[in-house]
């Protein structure tokens, strides 16, 4: 990818922005990614000549919109190597996908005394819906521990806790804080040996590297368009067909109903329609499909290698800064670096960096319990994606040296 980096960068209009005369360097893709011109153009064209509501009109524009919307489902299914397209449910994003499963499958299947297994490295979105479900269902929650300094998930404990046969194991594939990748296929294999249903949070992995739900062997996987060059407001829940088919609806209204009556219960459609009440994110689906085509053209393996190599370069240089602590493994498995600097608060670092054109993340990264446990309620994060270049790492390092001199 290094050879065509300038061509890739040329496709991202945001790179023309400046801050106080400095070129904008975006190191916050783990929060949300930037959009290439072809996604922006696709969404404009869609609104100009293809837009209408989906699935219910018989006029030209409705046909075009329905085709675009369903083609997007095909794109997502292929991206995940899903066995069936109907297994892809469009949601508002990963968070809504978790809430959907917690409120449907969870309410049907989690009984008093059951155990929900999570890990200590979950984003709030794959933590709070399960904790609420467990409280309501009078179920137990257990956590697979994280090793010292967040270098890895404690796999021995994971194996032991999974052998006890929890009802559900929900875990993050790539956490948004630690720069590591959990061995999802192993974890799912151990889980299914105990009859445990698995839910994978793929928000940081899908669109950043190849992800194959069949190879992984999970039962559910959630992801978001906006993390992979697509628009915000849409994401997906993938679930095994037999599980989705047995799940009750979540939200009720148009589109999800089969037959409706005044005086007796309605009947509901098969998945995915059953879980897509109301007018869905149509425009966003068209944009997301274009983003997926763009990522496929670039190559997901190449994107991963590029992002991880930038993160490794950052780790090498950041380690030399006095009092700087990096969370997670030294050898990066994902393209981000979270760190804290003794005597310099993360919020000041992010402000100081922004004045020089560098977009960093500061705070708890929506993983408060994890960061508290690691002893750093507030830290900075630099995350890399396909539009970042090696000189971005140099700029990061130079600005951090400057910040240390200023604040300490």
């Amino acid at each position: 990818m290094a050879s065509n980096l300038s061509e890739i960068r040329g496709q991202f209009p945001f790179l023309k922005e400046t801050v106080n005369g400095h070129p904008l360097i975006y190191l916050d893709s783990a929060a949300s990614s930037q959009k290439p011109a072809r996604v922006i153009g696709r969404m404009s064209r869609f609104m100009e000549s293809e837009y209408a509501n989906v699935h219910r009109g018989i006029h030209l524009l409705s046909e075009r919109a329905t085709a675009a919307y369903e083609n997007a489902r095909t794109s997502v299914a292929k991206l995940l190597n899903a066995p069936r397209e109907e297994e892809v449910v469009f949601t508002r994003g990963t968070t809504e996908s978790v809430n959907l499963v917690a409120n449907t499958w969870g309410r049907e299947n989690i009984k008093p005394g059951d155990t929900i297994l999570l890990t200590e490295m979950e984003h709030h979105s794959n933590l709070l819906p399960w904790l609420k479900l467990a409280r309501d269902a009078d179920a137990n929650v257990e956590f697979v521990p994280v090793l010292e300094n967040g270098v890895a998930l404690d796999l021995d404990s994971a194996r032991r806790l999974l052998a006890k046969g929890p009802k559900l194991f929900a875990f993050v594939h790539i956490p948004n804080t630690l720069g590591l990748e959990n061995p999802a296929a192993d974890l799912c294999a151990w889980a299914s040996a105990s009859g445990t249903t698995t839910f994978v949070d793929g928000a940081q992995s899908v669109g950043h590297q190849p992800v194959d739900v069949q190879e992984m062997g999970c039962d559910f996987l959630a992801c978001s368009s906006h993390k992979m060059c697509g628009p915000s407001g849409i994401g997906a829940l993938w679930g095994r067909h037999e599980i989705l088919s047995a799940m009750p609806p979540w939200q009720y209204g148009g589109e999800m109903v089969d037959r409706a009556y005044y005086d007796k219960p309605a009947t509901y459609r098969e998945p995915p329609a059953r879980f897509e009440a109301g007018t869905p994110p149509i425009l966003e689906a068209a944009g997301w499909a274009e983003a997926i085509a763009f990522l496929n053209d670039t190559g997901l393996e190449a994107i991963r290698e590029h992002s991880v190599s930038l993160a490794n370069a950052a780790v090498q240089q950041l380690q030399k800064i006095d009092g700087l602590r990096i969370f997670g493994p030294v050898a990066r498995q994902a393209g981000l670096v979270t760190f804290s600097i003794e005597g310099v608060h993360a919020h000041d670092v992010a402000f100081f960096a922004n004045e020089r054109g560098l977009a960093l993340r500061a705070g708890h990264h929506c993983a408060q319990p994890l960061m508290r446990m690691l002893g750093s309620p507030s830290s900075s994060r630099a995350s890399f994606y396909l539009y970042n270049q090696p000189s971005d790492v140099d700029a990061l390092v130079a600005i951090l040296h400057e910040a240390v001199a200023f604040f300490r």
């Binding site: 608060h345 993360a346 919020h347 000041d348 402000f351 100081f352 500061a362 708890h364 830290s379 604040f407």
Partner: protein, 139 residues
């Protein structure tokens, strides 16, 4: 730019905050946090009658929040609770507009914050925690 926000006096307060540390036998206390950026601060008070006799703070916060807490704890000592409430209101106005009625000179060092909306919460957090502490007797 940095210098408008991080004035020299402010940086002194941030690097060597006054009234930082635990207060023995507080009568009132409260914790505050800024979920967005991770500022965490605790304010402890000793209120005699209707007067703030002692004010200290602890926690882990950014330069703006730490400096604001340092200046605040110095300013409110000796004031009545009503006067502290008034001052807190005037300080809020300063953060909103860059000017506030009847503000002690020392607080003016934070007048530049209003130009940086994302930092207003940092400067305001100690005061919000202080007001909350005045309503929260210990024990």
């Amino acid at each position: 730019m940095d210098n408008e926000l991080y004035q020299a006096v402010l940086m002194q307060h941030s690097k060597q905050p006054r009234n930082f540390g635990p207060l023995e036998n507080p009568t009132h206390a409260a914790d505050g946090h800024n979920a967005l950026c991770g500022d965490e601060i605790s304010v402890a008070l000793r209120i005699d009658g209707n007067t703030v006799a002692e004010a200290k703070f602890t926690g882990s916060a950014c330069a703006i929040c730490t400096a604001s807490a340092s200046i605040m704890t110095g300013e409110v000592k000796g004031l009545t609770c009503d006067a502290v409430q008034t001052l807190a209101g005037n300080f809020r106005a300063l953060l909103k507009d860059g000017t506030g009625p009847e503000l002690p000179k020392k607080l003016e060092v934070l007048s530049g914050v209003h130009q940086f909306p994302q930092r207003v919460k940092c400067a305001a957090l100690p005061w919000e925690t202080l007001v909350s502490a005045m309503q929260s007797p210990v024990g």
